[in-house]
Amino acid sequence: MEDASQELLKSVVKIKNPNGFHMRPKAAFVEAASRFVSEVKLIWEGQVFNGKSMFELMLVAAGEDSEVTLEVFGSDSHLALQELEKVLAEEDVSVLD
């Protein structure tokens, strides 16, 4: 991976979902993250979680209006960041989780 376009991208995203970052948004996030070759990290309350592991994300108890930091690193990082921000910002108003 000597690609010159490689760079570490960061973005702070606010969770808008009234139920917080619950299981289904997490599943959608992992699915999206896994489509990219870039490394995806999610930082919540100072802890770093692997964005491609559902198990790790299960430990993110981010409620509505809390902030998480996205870190993407790799050859397709720009596209990945864009896409993952979208997933995180999605409002899922259903009460299921």
Binding site: G20, H22, M23, R24, K26, A27, V30, E31, N50, K52, S53, M54, F55, E56, M58, L59, A61, G63, S94, L96, D97
Partner: protein, 462 residues
């Protein structure tokens, strides 16, 4: 090392590998492999995970079609966890470094994640641990399906750990290999506990939540004397219990050598040693230990946990079994029903809530208020009395009048049997328990009414 305190239901100490029995009956009977089997184990794991994911995804599709995609998505998340490459990596690393089976490694890894999730401050997120249990079960089901192992194919001694065991599950345990059990639920009088006594394996129940702290194959100690379950004991504890075990074995052996010696005091008084039982099949255990009879047969276990009162014939068969096993000469003291109405499902309609049921309408008082129930039991006992040396015992008598009432009912039943030409021992000895203070004070008068006393001391120790 974790120590849990519960209710001891059968004494003894067992040290052995845990076998977790959940409601679906998945077990992890084997926890180690040899170095040469690692590659094969990787392959099993991958197939298990793949199959579990396929099944969960197909369920997802079914549920999505039935009730909506958002419901199906829950299973989608499960599938994602099952296919999580990091999960696979963690499990594989345990297999290759510690030579664990795929099942055991999976269970260990899942236990770790479950604990992490349970410790989340957000209660709703923490409750997602249930999803992880489900995922574990899915994969285990596939892995164990490959091996087709179960309780019937145990090949080494184990300790069964479960949330609860049904009486039928308990009854089916192969005691050659199941050396002890411990459960989260249950009480001293639950059927499972009673069966543990009958199977003669150390057991502790009512331990509270511990299942998420243990993995099948972990070494555990069941201390049926103190009512403890010790998970993953440290070296010192293990040593101590190993010593206890050898002490018990040598104690048993030394007692065995005393078995056939006569029980005579130094001044020449012979004392009869009799056994107490709850179930007919325990008679054999008593005989094996050299009992000269049954000193107390607690009949209430015939009545517990049933929707209906046992019929006269059912009771007769049970009493007959005991008395026949003991033979013509050895005495069998059968005590009539000694239970409160609150313990009898069949009496729920009769049951009047009381402030202190232990001192309320129970035992002989309940029988005297429910003559039909009492007479049925007396008929069964009298009918069985022709097969050996049965003695009849009334519990919880507190006045002479009560004792006379009870005896009068026995006379009525005898008359009925006589008229029906049903054989019985017309001279059956009748005794009474001296277990409440009034009976102790009235014992001189009581003595004139009965052939023998049985003293229940624990009622006097309050």
């Amino acid at each position: 090392m974790e120590v849990y305190r519960g209710i001891p239901v059968y004494p003894g100490v067992v040290i052995g590998p845990a076998l977790l029995l959940d409601t679906e009956g998945y077990l992890i009977p084997q926890r180690s492999i040899t170095a040469s089997e690692v590659v094969e184990e990787f392959e099993r794991l991958k197939i298990g995970i793949r199959d579990a994911a396929i099944e969960v995804r197909s369920n997802q599709a079914i549920i999505a079609a039935k009730v909506g995609t958002q419901y199906g998505a829950i299973l989608g998340a499960h599938a994602q966890m099952i296919e999580d490459p990091f999960l696979l990596g963690e499990i594989e690393s345990l297999i290759s470094k510690k030579f664990f089976t795929a099942e055991y490694a999976l269970s260990l890894v899942m236990r770790k994640h479950i604990k992490e999730i349970q410790s989340l401050p957000d209660a709703r997120m923490a409750s997602r641990a249930t999803d992880l249990f489900d995922i574990e079960k899915q994969i285990l089901g596939k892995l164990i399906g490959q091996r087709k192992e179960g309780l019937n194919s145990l090949n080494e001694p184990v300790v069964i750990l479960a949330h609860d065991l049904s009486p039928s599950e308990t009854a089916k345990l192969n005691t050659k290999l199941v050396h002890a059990f411990a459960t989260e639920a249950g009480g001293r009088t639950s059927h499972t506990s009673i069966l543990a006594g009958a199977l003669e394996i150390p057991a502790v129940v009512g331990l509270g939540k511990f299942i998420s702290e243990v993995t099948g194959g972990d070494i555990v100690i069941v201390d049926g004397n103190a009512g403890l379950l010790i998970i993953d004991p440290d070296a010192e504890t293990l040593r101590r219990y190993q010593k206890t075990q050898t002490d018990i074995v040598s104690l048993d052996a030394s007692l065995e050598s005393l078995r056939d010696l006569p029980a005579i005091t130094q001044d020449g008084v012979e004392i009869k040693l009799l056994g107490n039982i709850e179930f007919p099949h325990e008679t054999k255990h008593c005989l094996d230990k050299g009992a000269q009879g049954i000193g107390l047969y607690r009949t209430e276990f015939l009545f517990m946990g049933k929707d209906a009162v046992p019929t006269e014939d059912e009771q007769f068969e049970a009493y007959k079994e005991v008395v026949q096993a003991m033979g013509k000469d050895r005495p069998v003291v059968i005590r009539t029903l000694d239970l409160g109405g609150d313990k009898l499902a069949a009496f729920s309609n009769l049951h009047i809530p009381e402030k202190n049921p232990f001192l309320g309408l129970r035992s002989i008082r309940l029988c005297l208020r429910n003559i039909g129930l009492f007479k049925t039991q007396l008929r069964a006992i009298l009918r069985a009395s022709v097969y050996g040396n049965i003695q009849l015992l009334f519990p919880m008598i507190s006045t002479v009048l009560e004792l006379r009432q009870a005896k009068m009912i026995v006379s009525e039943v005898k008359e009925d049997l006589f008229e029906e030409k049903v054989p019985f021992n017309k001279d059956i000895p009748i005794g009474t328990m001296i277990e409440v203070p009034s009976a102790a004070i009235l014992s001189e008068l009581m003595a004139k009414e009965v052939s023998f006393f049985s003293i229940g001391t624990n009622g006097f120790l309050a």
